[in-house]
């Protein structure tokens, strides 16, 4: 059950300020072609399905950007324009604009006192969320961290539900009990929403395990649900990350580990915290492909995502994808964000993923600017509606306090009168003592 090792490579080390055009090329790994032994990998391929064949173009670790593009152009029947259709680009654009507008509105609402606590915004990283989640089916699972609003929106949770949850209203996706950092949706298969970093990775691994279990033990042959776990660069120094990489590769679980490397863990620079900052290299150490991709370019992320999700669906095992990205705001709304160099922020602001996609769309004449504007307007209306809905929603009543602590409320035990505590009428009022 060894996992297949595809050749992974990175073309440039991250994350030096570069001009937009020469950003690191994403790595397109083609399992059939790119299976030459990777420089850092000590594994032999134990998979019979992959023949260690043609490796002509992958001998060296670093391949020039131009080579890769040429190769792709040769492989694809037409130009890069066909990377995306009109409908797809509309979807992507809409998704990213929704994420951005929502997060901006969150900031506004926070400063107006409508939501409290720790709120972590996703501005600047939309390409990663959209790039991956747009390709998932409804039954696929997404597991996130505390920076989860946009993952929820991309997965399909209505903006109304997310906004009410942030306002702490009972109509929120978690009935107001979770908050910003705990977004869950059973309907859309969003597994959270975790406050401690690294906590969600094992949960995602479990969901992938359940998918494999269903296929192999319960014999649900069509079950090919994949799980995508999002987490940051700081998490990649955490034990749970490594433990899960090991288990996922060991059992070839259908999971994709997506590292949103925005270089900063609150105030700790990734370079100061990590012995080897190239996170994608840690994949091959465990026997899975490690890919590095420009996380500010949604099309590149999407390409990588397609490959990774395809791999997982076919049962070939996990993939580690490192997306080099950046958050435009501070770590949270309470973070003054004084530590980051303004020049760095300015540089990445020029690589705004929404701007990039817009530019791409306009340049390739896929959609007219007017349509894009219409989409933006529509999104604004959706957001406004969400805020109104959340404002108008009721706060949770007292009776909700003790609900949902146990799935089976008999877990509250037997009271002195011999009845189960949950049968106590005061229990539903939330005034019973437990």
């Amino acid at each position: 059950m060894a996992s297949a090792i595809s050749a992974m490579k990175i073309l440039q080390p991250p994350p030096l300020p570069t001009t937009a055009t020469s950003s690191p090329e994403n790595l397109l790994f083609d399992p059939v072609k790119c299976n030459s032994s990777f420089f850092g990998s000590t594994h032999k391929l134990r998979f019979s399905s992959l023949k260690p064949s043609s490796s002509s173009h992958r001998r060296s670790t670093v391949v020039a950007v131009a080579d890769v593009i040429k190769e792709r152009k040769l492989n694809s029947s037409s130009s890069m324009v066909n990377l995306i259709t009109k409908e797809e680009c509309l979807e992507l654009y809409e998704d990213m604009v929704l994420g951005r507008a929502f997060e901006d509105m969150c900031a506004q609402m926070y400063y107006r006192g409508k939501m409290f606590g720790f709120v972590h915004l996703y501005n600047g990283q939309e390409a990663v969320s959209t790039g991956f989640i747009n390709l998932l089916k409804k039954e696929d699972y997404v597991c996130s961290t505390y920076r989860d609003h946009v993952h929820a929106l991309s997965k399909g949770v209505p903006a109304r539900a997310v906004m009410s949850e942030l306002f702490g209203k009972t109509t929120g996706c978690c009935r107001g009990q979770g908050g910003s950092m705990h977004m869950f949706s059973k309907e859309h298969n969003l597994l959270g929403g975790f406050a401690f970093i690294g906590e969600g990775i094992p949960v995602a691994t479990g969901a992938a395990f359940a998918s494999k279990y269903r296929r192999e033990v319960l014999k649900e042959a069509d079950c090919d649900h994949v799980t995508v776990a999002f987490f940051g660069d700081g998490t990649c120094n955490n034990g749970q990350f490594f433990e899960c990489l090991n288990m996922a590769a060991l059992w070839k679980l259908p999971i994709i580990f997506v590292v949103e490397n925005n270089l900063w863990a609150i105030g700790m620079s990734h370079l100061r915290a990590t012995s080897d900052p190239e996170i994608w290299k840690k994949g091959p150490a465990f026997g899975m492909p490690g890919v590095h991709v420009d996380g500010m370019d949604v099309l590149k992320v999407r390409e990588v995502a397609k490959e990774a999700i395809g791999r997982a669906r076919r049962g070939e095992g996990p993939t580690l994808v490192e997306c080099e990205t950046y958050r435009f705001r501070g770590h949270s709304l309470a973070d003054p964000d004084e530590l980051r160099d303004p020049a760095e922020k300015a540089h990445y602001a020029t690589r705004d993923p929404i701007m990039a996609l817009k530019k791409y769309i306009i340049e390739n004449n896929l959609v007219s600017e007017a349509e894009l504007k219409a989409i933006e307007k529509e999104i604004d209306e959706v957001i406004e509606d969400a805020v109104e809905f959340a404002d108008a929603s009721p706060v949770p009543p007292r009776s909700q306090l003790l609900q949902n602590v146990f799935a089976d409320p008999k877990g509250f035990g037997i009271g002195p009168d011999g009845k189960y505590r949950c049968e106590d009428p005061k229990f539903t009022e939330g005034t019973a003592r437990v």
């Binding site: 009990q177 059973k186 597994l191 691994t205 969901a207 998918s211 602590v405 037997i414």
Partner: protein, 519 residues
């Protein structure tokens, strides 16, 4: 190792022998009556012994646990109490016959057998003896000619302990004052009918597990060495060949990650059972247990259920060292959203295991390293116990003793002494550590007005501490004396055998405490 073991054993036996315990031989019920009716039992029938060692002591008891819980599945085949008692599972851990003629030599050889894990039930038809550690002569009502099973209670550590027969209710009034009163009339016919089957506690756990895995294909086991190795305490033996490597999953040594994995799998539809090789290892999984296991149902607004069972052996064993002898009940008890239960007999082990698997809540099932080799006869029929209810081990009038897990056996041993001294303790195995069954406990307190809690948990912030608080809050009016709590010392369990013994509560301390409370 054997030598060390026997050295310790002998030391123990010798200690007890200082108390001038004598062997008893009771041949029939009539003797029993005579003996039993005398509180204090001054007129014990003394029997000559062929033993060459005058210091020999033999514990032999018949541990009749009467589960008079409401939760017991009463699959009574017969209407007779005997049948019921047999099915309700008298705990008779049998490790070999010990005749009164046995000398210590023979005991040693029996120990050897025990050490090799050979348990044999042989009939001791003619005699029995029971001793109290404090040298009180107890009438032992163990044997009746018809009884087939041995009356020996031997724990997995080889220590012979007197179990105690309880439940005077099932016997006619003459045996009320005798802790060791067998359900004399009841047990006689029970063994003859031979309902149910005998097995050891770890086998009972396995049986429960296997039945649930057969019943629901979503049930799977996750843990270290659960598959090919069969479990470090053999609870999952032979399950991997039967169900496959994916259903009985051998994990790498990554507790936090595989516990989280089990939680993720539970959220997405499976029902995993996480085995901690030792409960202490679950400290590494504390992040996942506290944050995810306990909380996710709540923070997701009820959308995801986590029907996971986390189980493993804990408690103070036989010189296992500090880190392997931890009692984590106290650490986990504050986590909202989880239930905790502790099993103590094969009967309730199987029942609780099944209940935990079927429950939609996350449940932590605490087993004890020293109890895995207890043998008992359990029903053939399927039964599931309630996770929230406590178990009445021995009804009484004078004092309520609340206990769980291994301490149950220390309490029962002390109970024998106490009965001899004329006390009538009511012993309740609380079983459900979180939440407490305040109904059973409350009824008992209302009857006896005195409470003693005996536990192996740490003194500080342990189960006993919480229970004391709960009792004081709810039943303060019914108490004639302050609640007394006997817990382990707040020390890391020492390796040395003598020190280790002093960290946990011993029967002698229990007797003293009861005497103190009942003044």
């Amino acid at each position: 190792m054997l030598d060390v073991y026997f050295r310790n054993k002998l030391t123990e036996l010798q200690d007890l022998s200082k108390l001038k315990v004598r062997k008893l031989k009771i041949t029939n019920c009539e003797n029993l009556d005579t003996v039993n009716e005398v509180p204090g039992c001054n007129s014990i029938v003394e029997e000559e012994t062929n033993s060459t060692d005058s210091d020999e002591e033999i514990y032999s008891t018949d541990d009749d646990d009467d589960d008079d819980d409401d939760d017991d599945d009463d699959d009574d085949e017969g209407e007779e109490e005997e049948e019921e008692s047999a099915k309700e599972g008298k705990t008779r851990a049998l490790f070999g016959a010990i005749h009164p003629r046995n000398s210590v030599r023979c005991i040693r050889s029996k120990m050897a057998a025990i050490m090799q894990g050979i348990g044999a039930a042989t009939a001791l038809s003619s005699s029995s003896s029971s001793f109290d550690s404090k040298g009180f002569q107890l009438p032992s009502v163990k044997y009746f000619p018809e009884r087939k099973a041995t009356s020996l209670v031997v724990r997995s550590d080889g220590r012979l302990i007197p179990g105690s027969n309880l439940n005077a209710r099932n016997v006619s009034g003459r045996l009320v004052t005798n802790a060791v009163a067998a359900k004399a009339d009841t047990s006689a016919t029970s063994t003859a009918s031979k309902t149910g089957h005998e097995l050891l506690l770890f086998e009972a756990l396995r049986e429960g597990l296997e039945e649930e895995m057969d019943r629901d294909p979503h049930v799977c086991v996750v843990g270290e060495d659960v598959g090919h190795y069969g479990g470090s305490y053999k609870v999952t033996k032979d399950l991997a060949p039967k169900y496959g490597d994916l259903r009985v999953l051998d994990t790498p040594i990554a507790e936090n990650a595989f516990t989280g994995m089990a939680i993720g799998a539970a959220m997405t539809g499976l029902r995993p059972i996480v085995e901690g090789m030792n409960m202490g290892f679950l400290l590494l999984a504390y992040n996942q247990i506290s944050n995810n296991c306990g909380m996710l149902h709540y923070t997701s607004g009820g959308q995801f259920t986590i029907p996971v069972v986390i189980r493993g052996p804990g408690g103070v064993g036989r010189q296992l060292g500090a880190e392997h002898s931890q009692r984590l009940e106290s650490y986990f008890q504050s986590i909202p959203g989880i239930q905790m239960v502790a099993c103590s007999t094969p009967y309730n082990a199987k029942g609780l295991m099944k209940a935990a698997i079927r429950s939609e809540n996350p449940v932590i099932l605490f087993e004890h390293v020293l109890l895995y080799n207890l043998k008992e006869r359990i029903p053939d029929e399927e039964y599931v116990l309630s996770l929230e209810e406590a178990e009445m081990v021995r009804p009484g009038e004078h004092i309520t003793i609340l206990t769980y897990s291994r301490m149950r056996y220390h309490v029962m041993q002390a109970a024998k002494t106490l009965v001899n001294k004329g006390y009538d303790p009511e012993v309740i195995d609380i079983r459900s550590l979180k939440p407490f069954d305040l109904y059973t406990i409350g009824n008992s307190i209302k009857k006896t007005h005195r409470v003693l809690i005996v536990e192996e948990c740490m003194r500080t912030g342990g189960i006993g501490a919480s229970l004391t608080a709960a009792i004081n809050e709810n039943f303060n009016d019914y108490l004639d004396a302050p609640v007394m709590c006997l817990s382990s010392q707040d020390v890391p369990t020492p390796y040395a055998g003598t020190l280790e013994e002093w960290t946990v509560v011993q029967p002698a301390q229990i007797v003293t405490a009861v005497e103190q409370l009942c003044q």
